[in-house]
């Protein structure tokens, strides 16, 4: 569904992505792990076009999206969330998600017809909020955990085929993060998901496959079992607190 070949990116002498290649099949649940500074968020930025790659190709469902702008990639079905909340503080949750629906439907350029006339978009947005149990308040007034869910709701409202989640549970207390991942797990099986996560319990529970990144390169990719046993992974990343998978 989403594939990348030979992605390279460096800032001066700092190489943040080196010959990165990945292949996410339809409906996959991939975890992207690696030590801090391994280039995980950078990879998401490259895939979504928020950073321009120095070289390489990115294909979405067979189509080349390498030269598309970020919003065009979203329209093709590649959505992401942010590690640090990137929300619209003074819009309500419903307004925010409605905006994403309107953009997807191409109605957001309409400056004459009232918002209230776009009942379908509003109802659809309300449905997304309902399914994630997000109350309709001004975004700034939502509890932190609800804001993390709104991050996902905004991405879902674009009706993605591939969803890249950058530490969806960042800053959420451990006991709540399981609930958050359950919500993610219950998303449509058609949806291809790649998520960055540090909590190995969560990774091994929710990922069908794991990609390990170190210093801008993909070290290894495999099933949780294989990754758990891989001595290189233990050495560079899992270290002493390796979980017996």
């Amino acid at each position: 569904m989403l594939s990348a070949r030979n992605l390279n990116k460096s800032f001066g002498s700092l190489v943040v992505a080196q010959d990165v290649a990945l292949e996410l099949p339809k409906g996959a649940r991939y975890a992207l792990i690696g030590p801090n500074g391994a280039g995980k968020t950078t990879l998401i930025n490259l895939l979504t076009g928020m950073l321009a790659a120095d070289s390489g190709t990115i294909l979405l469902d067979g189509g080349d999206i390498t030269d598309l702008k970020p919003h065009q990639r979203v329209r093709r079905g590649l959505a992401r969330t942010f590690q640090i909340n990137a929300l619209f503080p003074r819009l309500t949750a419903l307004e925010s998600v409605t905006l994403a629906v309107l953009e997807r439907e191409g109605h957001a350029h309409n400056w004459w017809r009232g918002l209230a006339a776009h009942r379908q978009a509003i109802d659809e947005a309300a449905g997304v909020l309902d399914s994630l149990k997000i109350p309709n308040k001004e975004t700034a007034e939502l509890a932190y955990g609800q804001q993390r869910l709104l991050e996902i709701a905004l991405a879902l409202a674009t009706r993605p085929r591939v969803l890249l989640l950058d530490e969806p549970a960042a800053g959420v207390p451990k006991d709540e993060s399981a609930a958050l991942f359950s919500a993610i797990e219950s998303l449509s099986g058609e949806l291809t998901i790649l998520f960055i996560e540090h909590d190995m319990n969560v990774v091994f529970r929710f990922a069908s496959r794991i990609i390990v990144m170190v210093s801008g390169r993909i070290l290894v990719e495999g099933t949780p079992d294989a990754i758990g046993r891989d001595p290189r992974v233990r050495e560079v990343y899992l270290g002493g607190h390796a979980r017996a998978a």
Binding site: H71, R80, E95, S96, L99, W111, L115
Partner: protein
């Protein structure tokens, strides 16, 4: 009067009817001040156009007079060389400033913050100097004179200024209705999205730059119309319409009244211009002292402008 839930029907609220009814008061209460009232209406419209880009889309501009001036000169040139019917002149003036706005928008929307302030200021100065040097066309420092717009729709622009104020107020009202519609449209929501988080917008599939170009163009049209009304009601165009001072004044007016609330520009224009009129009467030399004091007081005690302060007061008891 401020950001209510935009997803609901955007009907006029009772307070808004009262507000607009109050704008009719000068006809009966202060008939001697109708020409000031016309200028306030013109400036209100100018501030409203700035509110669309500053208050809603977050584009700071210190050169917004460029569009006001283009509209004013277009209207003046039409009246001087072609015909003096104002409504058609108004539309053409809006069209011309809209074209200039659309052209500049391709550059302007790529920048933010300080760079944006410098850029808009630069464009403003360029246009002002261009008008100054093209004195054959514009009359240069003497201004564009030698034409007279007799009236609109059969009502004469006379010395009492009744028709002039009615004209300015009607144009303000119609433009306000348009602005209000824009704000309550999907496009208006997208603009608020850009203001709230420009980085997130592409990530929900929004072509932010295209949105901003459109907003900038709409604002330019509106500013040009404001300039044209000034031309029609005064039968003269001066370089001041393009000046940096006018750009700065309108920014101050909008911040004073409260940006991002549609009515902020009107309230700001009324207070600022009435205060200037009164202070300059009391103390012609030092009236800017009082304006300065007013600004400091508003920024310190009402950081969201006068309307922001009022709406905070209204929310408190709950």
């Amino acid at each position: 009067m401020e950001n209510a839930n935009h997803l609901e029907n955007a009907r006029f609220r009772p307070l808004e009817y009262v507000f607009w009814a109050c704008l009719l008061l000068p006809f009966v209460v202060t008939p001697a001040y109708l020409s000031l009232a016309s200028q306030i209406a013109v400036t209100s419209l100018f501030a409203l156009s700035l509110d669309l880009i500053l208050g809603y889309a977050g584009i700071v501009s210190l050169g917004h007079a460029a569009f006001f001036g283009v509209g004013a000169y277009t209207a003046g040139l039409i009246a001087k060389h072609y015909w003096t019917e104002p409504l058609s002149g108004l539309l053409i003036a809006g069209l011309c400033s809209g074209i200039v706005g659309y052209a500049l928008s391709h550059i302007v929307v790529r920048f933010r913050h300080l760079a944006l302030i410098m850029l808009t200021m630069g464009f403003g100065l360029l246009l002002a100097e261009a008008a100054n040097s093209a004195s054959d066309l514009t009359g240069g420092a003497d201004g564009l004179q030698g034409f007279h717009v007799p009236g609109v729709l059969g009502f004469k622009f006379d010395m009492f200024g009744r028709a002039a104020y009615a004209y300015a107020l009607a144009v303000l009202f119609v433009s306000f209705l348009v602005a209000r519609r824009v704000i309550h449209s999907p496009f208006g929501l997208a603009l608020r999205g850009i203001r709230e988080n420009a980085v997130r917008m592409p990530a929900i599939g929004a072509p932010s730059l295209a949105h901003l170009r459109k907003a900038y163009t709409i604002a330019a049209v509106m500013a040009g119309i404001a300039g044209a009304v000034l031309t029609h009601t005064t039968s003269t165009v001066s370089l001041e319409t393009l000046s940096f001072g006018r750009s700065a004044d309108v920014l101050v007016i909008l911040i004073l009244g409260g940006a991002g609330r549609l009515y902020g520009g009107i309230v700001g224009a009324i207070i600022y211009m009435v205060a200037r009129d009164q202070f300059s009467g009391v103390n012609p030399q030092y009236w800017y002292f009082w304006i300065g004091l007013l600004l400091v007081a508003v920024v310190m005690f009402l950081p969201n402008g006068i309307l922001g302060g009022l709406s905070a007061l209204r929310k408190k008891p709950q």
